[in-house]
Symmetry: C2
Subunit: 347 residues, 2 copies
């Protein structure tokens, strides 16, 4: 089969690789119908996260089960399924508690020796615990498939951030970060009943999506000017709930400074650097909580799925460029240069 | 009247100061029956927190109302009351929500122009919002008065930490810090139903109190050795809930490293330095939350008071040295040299 590999920074290739086979009785093999490129894939692309030469990549995909191992009970060939961005056994203490990202048998797509999502097929470890069945007729609905694909990462991650930030009825929510996760954070906050949603961003294409997703206000300023603008919008108090979907020291500092006393930051931006952007004295004096991390999207899919199926939740607008498998390297380039927000891959 | 003043680092005096008088119609004047010295007072004592020459000090006290301003409705002369460590109006948005430490009219005892608790009397701003009435007959019960005094700070602060850490039924709780707040954190965790409470500490007098308060395990090691010991006690997983009652980079690092995936740190140690002790990558990968800050003890007093009155909650053992007002400078010396855990003052 053909799959995307990374050979060096900025050197993405699509090449022939061995067909995936069942290796463990709990495996399944899945034919990929839709995959995509994640903002976090760019860290590998830019050489900021180390990869071995020829390593696979891609952690967001959905497709059709082709084959199952002898111990797979809940799935059969022909099932349409979506994969979360990590696999998990579904039975350990952490999985039982819903923290599938801490599964004792969990792992990442594209790690050494494992398939990635940006290819024609994927061997899925712990298939029963990992994959979530979708209605078979969704396979024929192009728009719906795209929306469902977002459940593999960005929609669940936005939901995790919104939960961590305590977004809900009557709350004012700010979203730091105008990437696909931040935009899904807007959607999630609206879904959870937030009264007011302030999106920070200066790229009109993205802030337009934020408004479409439910943002009531857009703040285009940055740094201290953004903080001042948000204080003015909130009667000087700041926001109950702040979604941090960037992961830099500066974005964390902004998040702390725009949170209302007693409020919370839901952080899902992969942290670059330590906690030096967190002024603990400010957090202490104002009782600001920090919650979040790598999102256990496997747990959230069953909750979010019905809303996506009936159209109430539609994250599909975050995909603004579609490529075939051979176009994946161009897709990376487009996302790196910010000419694309999120790239959909149809193998 | 006589009151404690601070003139320079290590220069505490007890001297004549003007008698407090009603200045605002919302004031009360309170005659102090019991006060005490807080670990956080030591930062001023050691010169690590700046004070003006002659500034008052002490933020934990209870006593008898002597006089009330014309707009004070809920209190009258002769009432026995306890004061939380900050005053608050009881009516602003934050007070209504229970975050009395963020009160828009709030302030600290002993700040410039205000009385401190380590004296014969105190002018109390916003008396209706600040003071909590106690049963009159408690005034004659020496042991009970001491226990009630802990409601002004350490017991409520320990409770805040335990709530922030998510302590509760079935949870394993670790307590970093063997001072009065950490010990009250043990009491609070037990009160909230924690299954297992691991106290970190090497001073036997203190760990004995921790055991009396409900600690099921004591870890005397420090740093990485303590982390290893706790991992061994918890089947390699760490603790659901960690109370951080120190505030240094090292203690925060320990707290992060002993928290179970998906768990929470309740931090109430006044932070020294920024968030550099917080490894955000670890917190992200393992979904560790950080919650806490300056404790809104005014909000907690009504909840904790019945338990103290009926003896189910008795924080009084944290007081291990009693002095009169003239003995306050010696009390500071004893706490600074760690020969006393917490000093009770009977003016």
């Amino acid at each position: 089969m053909r799959a995307t590999t990374i050979h060096a920074p900025f050197d993405m290739r699509v090449e022939d690789v061995p067909d995936p086979k069942i290796q463990q009785p709990t495996d399944a093999v899945l034919r990929v119908l839709r995959a995509c490129i994640c903002g976090s894939d760019l860290w590998a692309y830019r050489g900021e996260a180390a990869r071995e030469k020829g390593q696979r990549i891609g952690h967001e995909f959905l497709g059709i089960v082709e084959e199952t191992g002898s111990e797979v009970g809940g799935l059969k060939a022909g099932d349409l399924v979506v994969a979360p961005f990590m696999w998990s056994d579904g039975t350990c203490d952490y999985c039982t508690e819903g923290l599938t990202t801490s599964c004792v048998h969990g792992g990442f797509w594209g790690s050494v020796g494992h398939d990635g999502g940006q290819g024609e097929a994927v061997r899925v470890p712990h298939a029963d615990g990992t994959l979530v069945k979708l209605p078979a007729d969704a396979a024929g609905d192009d728009h719906l498939l795209t929306a469902l694909l977002a459940l593999s990462d960005v929609m669940g991650t936005g939901h995790h951030a919104a939960l961590g930030a305590g977004a809900g009825k009557g709350k004012t929510v700010a979203v730091v970060g105008d990437g696909a996760v931040g935009l899904c954070g807007v959607l999630a906050a609206r879904r959870l009943g937030a009264e007011r949603i302030i999106a920070l961003g200066r790229h009109e294409v993205r802030t337009d999506i934020a408004k479409r997703f439910g943002a009531t206000d857009v703040v285009a300023e940055r740094g201290e000017a953004a903080e001042a603008a948000i204080r003015e919008l909130t009667g000087g108090q700041g926001c109950h709930s702040v979604i941090e979907a960037v992961g830099t020291e500066q974005s964390m500092r902004t998040a702390v400074n725009i949170t209302r006393d007693g409020g919370a930051i839901g952080f899902v931006g992969v942290p670059h650097g330590s906690g030096t952007g967190l002024d603990l004295s400010v957090m202490f004096d104002r009782n600001i909580a920090l919650r979040g991390g790598v999102a256990p999207v496997r747990t959230y899919i069953p909750e979010l799925l019905p809303d996506v199926l009936d159209g109430r939740l539609d994250p599909s607008p975050v995909f603004d460029l579609t490529v075939g498998l051979d176009g994946v390297p161009d897709g990376y380039k487009a996302m790196d240069e910010r000419t694309a927000l999120k790239v959909l891959v149809k193998p």
